[in-house]
């Protein structure tokens, strides 16, 4: 079975779709804009969830579940939020179907019209803050540190598997604090947890920054972001953490009594990452042969493929494989032995390359005789022969080194695609041909930002948190600027 994957060179977007579909990560559904996450993709998402969930809990957060449906009027309560979210959304207007005139036909029962329409949540600030009003009375109720793992719906016209779908999965943290400082610290802490996850576990280097007013979350005072660079030179926003100030507290009248008996509005944050990370993972590491999954997220880290001519040989290899599996499992390495007799080794090699299994072990009769095995790593596709004696620790080191190599490779690529320029002609040329991030001076106005977007399709991805202050002239207007910002075209 040929893999039939379009090469990145030929059509990057088609390469991505081919990978996601053919490796078994996901599938299109019969519902416009909604995808199906297949078992292999879901197993990776579960690993992402497990890691993040444990970090949320370590930092004092608890999970809860708020309703899927939000009354329409809730969206009107925070003025900016209305603008940002109450647009393309799924609207529930009725609560009953009834039999139509044709056999098995169903029609919407006009008598079952809701008094107020319900919106499938595009994000949950409004329903959560209307609840927090009931839960928060005193400083003793603070901080309130809650997260939920949920599905949300934003009606998207142009969808792309994982990266932009009408329904998607995410976690959304919503916290309430007594002081501004505490809320700001929380927003930055969660951004750091995201950044650590992306670099250590996903092996995707990120730049932490703050969004400009144009790109800010609707209702936030500050939106912090983690941005990464994909292989086609486009940036991808990996996650955001918002300092919401007192906007939602005021919109929903959430005040607490402090120790002095005085009423104050609480301070808030919200933060989220989504199944979009699955798309980032695919785009960051994979190649024309298939996925490349970092060991820390691979549902199967090692696959063993037997090479044999007859059942006697298979049986001997199976015995050896049992021992190998037992040794690997002791080191908490997940391993699969593929003894499917209906497929040739070559087919299996291609299949596991497609699926991005980090390490493949092949064992044939000669290996058994020599006490060796052939080990292939997916990232570099290098093969080596190693001894069965003490192989398990060697495999463990190999997995560690693959994990590191992926981050390093992605970091080198990202650094090579971060260009500093002071000329707008060069800016346009880079955006058009090389892609990547451009570090340039900007006069700080939304007007200039939008003009640059109009001319180049590049937006300001962020103002990096570790920015050096530096006098300069805006790349477009020549006006004074105190620091460079990062521009890029993005997903």
């Amino acid at each position: 079975m040929a893999k039939e994957i379009t090469s990145r060179q030929a059509d990057y977007s088609q390469w991505y779709n081919d990978l996601v579909l053919k490796s078994g990560l996901a599938d299109y559904s019969d519902v416009r804009g909604c995808m199906i996450i297949k078992p292999y993709g879901y197993a990776i998402w579960e690993k992402m969830k497990q890691y993040l969930d444990s970090k949320f809990k370590e930092t004092g957060h608890q999970n809860a579940a708020f309703p899927l449906l939000i009354p329409k009027s809730f969206f009107s309560k925070e003025a900016e939020h209305v603008e940002g979210f109450a647009k393309e959304c799924a609207v529930v207007t009725h609560y009953r179907l009834k039999a139509g005139s044709k056999p098995n036909e169903l029609i919407v029962d006009p008598s079952a019209k809701l008094e107020e329409e319900l919106i499938i949540r595009p994000t949950s600030e409004t329903i959560i803050w209307s609840t927090y009003k009931k839960w928060i009375q005193s400083y003793r109720d603070l901080p309130l540190l809650i997260n939920q793992w949920a599905n949300v719906v934003r009606w998207e016209m142009r969808t792309k598997l994982f990266l932009r779908t009408s329904e998607f999965f995410w976690q959304e943290g919503h916290t309430a604090h007594a002081t501004r400082k505490e809320a700001e610290t929380e927003a930055r802490l969660m951004l750091q947890i995201y950044a650590d996850f992306m670099e250590k576990i996903m092996a995707v280097p990120v730049i932490k920054g703050v969004k400009t007013a144009n790109e800010r979350f609707a209702g936030a005072v500050d939106t912090f972001t983690v941005e990464s660079m994909m292989q086609d030179g486009k940036a991808l926003q990996m996650g955001t953490s918002h300092f919401l100030g007192q906007n939602f507290a005021k919109a929903f009248d959430v005040q607490y009594l402090d120790k002095q008996g005085k009423l104050n509005y609480v301070w808030a944050t919200s933060w989220g990452v989504s199944t979009r990370l699955m798309g980032a993972l695919v785009m960051a590491h994979s190649d024309d042969e298939g996925l490349v999954i970092p060991p820390a997220l691979a549902p199967i880290q090692v696959v063993i493929v037997p090479i044999y001519r007859n059942t006697d040989q298979l049986s001997e290899i199976s015995n050896a494989a049992e021992k190998i599996m037992a040794d690997l499992k002791k080191l908490e390495i997940s391993v699969k032995f593929d003894n499917d007799d209906s497929k040739k080794p070559g087919w299996k090699f291609a299949e596991y390359e497609l699926k991005g299994i980090p390490v493949r072990i092949a064992i044939g009769p000669r290996d058994l005789a020599n006490g060796t095995m052939e080990v292939a790593r997916r990232d570099t596709r290098e093969k080596s022969i190693i001894n069965m004696d003490g192989f398990a620790n060697e495999i463990k080191s190999l997995l560690d080194s693959i994990q590191q190599n992926l981050l390093q490779k992605a970091s080198i690529f990202r650094n090579e695609h971060l260009t500093t320029t002071d000329s707008f002609d060069e800016f346009k040329e880079i955006i058009e041909n090389k892609g990547g991030f451009i570090s340039a001076h900007w006069d700080g106005t939304s007007e200039t930002e939008l003009k640059i977007k109009e001319l180049t399709k590049a937006t300001i991805r962020c103002i990096p948190l570790d920015n050096k202050l530096e006098e300069g002239a805006c790349i477009f207007t020549g006006k004074n600027s105190k620091q460079r910002v990062l521009f890029a075209r993005s997903y």
Copy 2:
């Protein structure tokens, strides 16, 4: 703070609501019929999920995610399914809001009407089987063993926290098999996994059985069920596992090529348990003082409350508590030390009884001097003094014995509330006054079953799987019967 919990005697239903709300398991939301699962409730649900998920995976199932929204026409494809599910459901008719004429007003954009309405899934057979048609071609694709953890919406007119809500959380397994026998075995295997979970982990004894045609899942050939008995004498259906025959395969034209190259329809099962189990957990064990959570599901198994007069004493007790916690954590016992200075020990005792923490340890200066601690178990509310030497193993045994005691207590209650009768007058008297299950003969007709329901509000909960065949006369019509079935009023 008084707990103000209505007693079971005074008002069982109010007792239940009080417990759920005041212990922090859940809250009402601003959306009709939808509840909020609060952190304490969600932590228990997560433990349920973890256990079940590991059992599903051990038996070869994989998780995936299918769309929340289902095209209306899908429900018409399986004739019985239409009847059962396409009634009270949330209907999405539009995909956009726009600004109204008043400030911040939002109205549904009439130009954004969907060509075909979408239904928020009440269950996912239809969308999943329309997908399986694409995934299943050959016997090599079988069995297909998939589960999803999801939210579903069924528009309920009369709701009750956890037990009946418009939105609820569940898992739904959907499997496809080459043979009838394999699918039947699967349906029974999953029922057994549910039963084991309920008895070993929830400490709730269940009766496994099969539903009558009246109570069968819409589209199933056989619905297997696990039924339990609540403290008010009403039965609760804890979970169901359906053998679907080839109904959905035929409705969605899912055929596979067997080894002989012949096309066959596949055989199917589906099975699910939901957040309703949380309601069962509360109702099965709790008392007028609050929740009683079995140790296997308690987010906090042991709480330590210091008894002190001054900060010196608190500091000494804290040192001892640190050691106690370390020792308990070594045995994987979850423990909390409550050194909140703003609450009295009496308040804390009441609070942890309300929350159903299985074991409470109290330590005062005299305990420190004697090398002892006071241990109170939540289930029997018995207190004892134990030595600090080797206390950890003693606590572990105590947790085990609480777990066993809860199951035993619930089993005794259930057995006392399972009455065998051959007289319909007695039947009516038992249903009205004692409640519980009634084991009685039935002539096997839907007509009789419905008549009995009309007269007594009791339904046939199940025909137990381990039933002895026994000649008898139907309790209502006197017609021939070959076995007894279980009647009860139910949630």
